[in-house]
Point group: C2
Chain length 101, copies 2
Protein backbone atom coordinates (compact mmCIF):
# COMPACT_ATOMS: atom_id res chain seq x y z
CA UNK A 1 0.00 0.00 0.00
CA UNK A 2 0.96 3.61 -0.42
CA UNK A 3 0.11 5.52 2.74
CA UNK A 4 0.12 9.31 2.68
CA UNK A 5 0.01 11.39 5.84
CA UNK A 6 -1.17 14.90 5.10
CA UNK A 7 -0.39 17.29 7.96
CA UNK A 8 -2.67 20.33 8.10
CA UNK A 9 -2.61 23.39 10.35
CA UNK A 10 -5.97 25.20 10.25
CA UNK A 11 -6.63 28.80 11.18
CA UNK A 12 -8.49 28.63 14.53
CA UNK A 13 -11.66 30.32 13.25
CA UNK A 14 -11.97 27.72 10.47
CA UNK A 15 -11.55 24.50 12.46
CA UNK A 16 -15.21 23.49 12.41
CA UNK A 17 -15.63 24.34 8.72
CA UNK A 18 -12.43 22.50 7.82
CA UNK A 19 -13.57 19.45 9.73
CA UNK A 20 -16.93 19.46 7.99
CA UNK A 21 -15.44 19.82 4.49
CA UNK A 22 -12.81 17.17 5.19
CA UNK A 23 -15.33 14.65 6.47
CA UNK A 24 -17.42 15.16 3.33
CA UNK A 25 -14.31 14.43 1.26
CA UNK A 26 -13.39 11.37 3.36
CA UNK A 27 -16.88 9.86 3.04
CA UNK A 28 -16.68 10.04 -0.77
CA UNK A 29 -13.00 9.06 -0.97
CA UNK A 30 -13.52 5.70 0.74
CA UNK A 31 -15.90 4.80 -2.10
CA UNK A 32 -12.99 4.96 -4.59
CA UNK A 33 -11.75 1.47 -5.51
CA UNK A 34 -8.13 2.59 -5.11
CA UNK A 35 -8.60 3.84 -1.56
CA UNK A 36 -8.53 1.34 1.31
CA UNK A 37 -8.85 3.85 4.16
CA UNK A 38 -9.15 7.61 4.46
CA UNK A 39 -8.88 8.50 8.13
CA UNK A 40 -9.15 12.03 9.50
CA UNK A 41 -7.65 12.60 12.95
CA UNK A 42 -7.28 15.69 15.12
CA UNK A 43 -4.51 16.43 17.63
CA UNK A 44 -5.57 16.23 21.26
CA UNK A 45 -3.20 18.98 22.39
CA UNK A 46 -3.94 21.31 19.46
CA UNK A 47 -7.36 21.01 17.76
CA UNK A 48 -6.17 23.22 14.89
CA UNK A 49 -3.92 20.38 13.68
CA UNK A 50 -5.23 17.50 11.58
CA UNK A 51 -3.70 14.53 9.82
CA UNK A 52 -5.37 12.92 6.81
CA UNK A 53 -4.24 9.29 6.67
CA UNK A 54 -4.82 8.23 3.07
CA UNK A 55 -4.24 4.56 2.25
CA UNK A 56 -3.97 3.85 -1.50
CA UNK A 57 -3.82 0.39 -3.03
CA UNK A 58 -1.32 1.33 -5.76
CA UNK A 59 1.05 4.17 -6.66
CA UNK A 60 -1.37 5.28 -9.38
CA UNK A 61 -4.36 5.76 -7.11
CA UNK A 62 -3.48 9.20 -5.70
CA UNK A 63 -3.63 10.65 -9.22
CA UNK A 64 -7.07 9.09 -9.71
CA UNK A 65 -8.19 10.58 -6.40
CA UNK A 66 -7.07 14.04 -7.48
CA UNK A 67 -9.33 13.84 -10.54
CA UNK A 68 -12.49 13.39 -8.50
CA UNK A 69 -15.11 16.06 -7.93
CA UNK A 70 -15.00 15.55 -4.15
CA UNK A 71 -11.25 16.15 -4.06
CA UNK A 72 -11.53 19.33 -6.15
CA UNK A 73 -14.37 20.56 -3.96
CA UNK A 74 -12.36 19.88 -0.80
CA UNK A 75 -9.18 21.50 -2.15
CA UNK A 76 -11.01 24.66 -3.15
CA UNK A 77 -13.13 24.81 0.01
CA UNK A 78 -10.23 24.51 2.43
CA UNK A 79 -7.61 26.51 0.50
CA UNK A 80 -8.01 29.66 2.57
CA UNK A 81 -8.64 27.85 5.85
CA UNK A 82 -5.08 26.64 6.25
CA UNK A 83 -2.45 28.44 8.29
CA UNK A 84 0.30 27.29 5.93
CA UNK A 85 0.66 24.88 2.99
CA UNK A 86 -0.14 21.32 3.98
CA UNK A 87 2.70 18.80 4.08
CA UNK A 88 2.57 15.23 2.77
CA UNK A 89 4.80 12.29 3.63
CA UNK A 90 4.64 8.95 1.81
CA UNK A 91 5.01 5.62 3.58
CA UNK A 92 4.84 1.94 2.76
CA UNK A 93 3.20 -0.61 5.04
CA UNK A 94 5.32 -2.98 7.13
CA UNK A 95 2.36 -4.20 9.20
CA UNK A 96 -0.24 -5.30 8.49
CA UNK A 97 0.26 -6.66 4.97
CA UNK A 98 -1.92 -5.43 2.10
CA UNK A 99 -4.90 -7.54 3.16
CA UNK A 100 -5.12 -5.77 6.51
CA UNK A 101 -6.34 -2.33 5.38
CA UNK B 1 -10.60 6.26 19.81
CA UNK B 2 -7.24 7.42 21.04
CA UNK B 3 -4.76 7.32 18.19
CA UNK B 4 -1.06 7.63 18.95
CA UNK B 5 1.51 8.28 16.23
CA UNK B 6 4.98 7.27 17.39
CA UNK B 7 7.71 8.74 15.19
CA UNK B 8 10.96 6.79 15.23
CA UNK B 9 14.32 7.51 13.61
CA UNK B 10 16.45 4.35 13.49
CA UNK B 11 20.23 4.14 13.15
CA UNK B 12 20.80 2.93 9.57
CA UNK B 13 22.59 -0.28 10.58
CA UNK B 14 19.64 -1.30 12.75
CA UNK B 15 16.75 -0.79 10.31
CA UNK B 16 16.17 -4.48 9.57
CA UNK B 17 16.43 -5.49 13.21
CA UNK B 18 14.13 -2.66 14.29
CA UNK B 19 11.57 -3.68 11.70
CA UNK B 20 11.67 -7.32 12.82
CA UNK B 21 11.30 -6.44 16.52
CA UNK B 22 8.52 -3.94 15.80
CA UNK B 23 6.54 -6.39 13.69
CA UNK B 24 6.75 -8.97 16.48
CA UNK B 25 5.35 -6.35 18.88
CA UNK B 26 2.60 -5.33 16.43
CA UNK B 27 1.44 -8.93 15.89
CA UNK B 28 0.99 -9.40 19.65
CA UNK B 29 -0.42 -5.91 20.27
CA UNK B 30 -3.38 -6.40 17.92
CA UNK B 31 -4.47 -9.30 20.12
CA UNK B 32 -5.05 -6.91 23.04
CA UNK B 33 -8.76 -6.14 23.50
CA UNK B 34 -8.00 -2.43 23.90
CA UNK B 35 -6.12 -2.13 20.60
CA UNK B 36 -8.11 -1.76 17.38
CA UNK B 37 -5.14 -1.33 15.02
CA UNK B 38 -1.38 -1.27 15.37
CA UNK B 39 0.07 -0.27 12.01
CA UNK B 40 3.78 0.01 11.29
CA UNK B 41 4.74 2.14 8.31
CA UNK B 42 8.10 3.16 6.82
CA UNK B 43 8.94 6.39 4.99
CA UNK B 44 9.44 5.99 1.26
CA UNK B 45 12.06 8.75 1.04
CA UNK B 46 13.93 7.69 4.20
CA UNK B 47 13.73 4.01 5.23
CA UNK B 48 15.30 4.82 8.61
CA UNK B 49 12.06 6.57 9.63
CA UNK B 50 9.04 4.68 10.91
CA UNK B 51 5.67 5.61 12.34
CA UNK B 52 3.78 3.30 14.68
CA UNK B 53 0.08 4.08 14.35
CA UNK B 54 -1.49 2.78 17.54
CA UNK B 55 -5.29 2.88 17.78
CA UNK B 56 -6.63 2.42 21.30
CA UNK B 57 -10.30 2.00 22.21
CA UNK B 58 -10.10 4.03 25.42
CA UNK B 59 -7.74 6.40 27.18
CA UNK B 60 -6.84 3.65 29.65
CA UNK B 61 -5.64 1.16 27.04
CA UNK B 62 -2.13 2.57 26.43
CA UNK B 63 -1.28 1.91 30.10
CA UNK B 64 -2.50 -1.68 29.72
CA UNK B 65 -0.36 -2.07 26.60
CA UNK B 66 2.73 -0.87 28.45
CA UNK B 67 2.27 -3.65 31.03
CA UNK B 68 2.52 -6.45 28.45
CA UNK B 69 5.55 -8.67 27.96
CA UNK B 70 5.66 -7.93 24.22
CA UNK B 71 5.82 -4.18 24.84
CA UNK B 72 8.63 -4.57 27.41
CA UNK B 73 10.53 -6.86 25.05
CA UNK B 74 10.16 -4.38 22.19
CA UNK B 75 11.15 -1.38 24.33
CA UNK B 76 14.30 -3.09 25.57
CA UNK B 77 15.21 -4.58 22.20
CA UNK B 78 14.98 -1.31 20.25
CA UNK B 79 16.32 1.07 22.92
CA UNK B 80 19.79 1.31 21.43
CA UNK B 81 18.62 1.14 17.81
CA UNK B 82 17.10 4.60 17.79
CA UNK B 83 18.91 7.70 16.57
CA UNK B 84 17.08 9.87 19.11
CA UNK B 85 14.20 9.48 21.57
CA UNK B 86 10.96 8.56 19.83
CA UNK B 87 8.18 11.18 19.73
CA UNK B 88 4.50 10.52 20.33
CA UNK B 89 1.50 12.62 19.33
CA UNK B 90 -2.05 11.86 20.46
CA UNK B 91 -5.07 12.27 18.20
CA UNK B 92 -8.79 11.67 18.29
CA UNK B 93 -10.72 10.27 15.35
CA UNK B 94 -12.93 12.54 13.25
CA UNK B 95 -13.46 9.92 10.53
CA UNK B 96 -14.36 7.16 10.57
CA UNK B 97 -16.33 6.89 13.80
CA UNK B 98 -15.37 4.34 16.45
CA UNK B 99 -16.93 1.43 14.56
CA UNK B 100 -14.60 1.96 11.60
CA UNK B 101 -11.29 0.85 13.12
Amino acid sequence: MLIVHVDVAVKPEWVDAFRKATLANARESVKEPGIARFDVIQRKDDPTRFVLVEVYRTAEDPAQHKETVHYATWRNTVADMMERPRESVKYTNCYPDDAGW
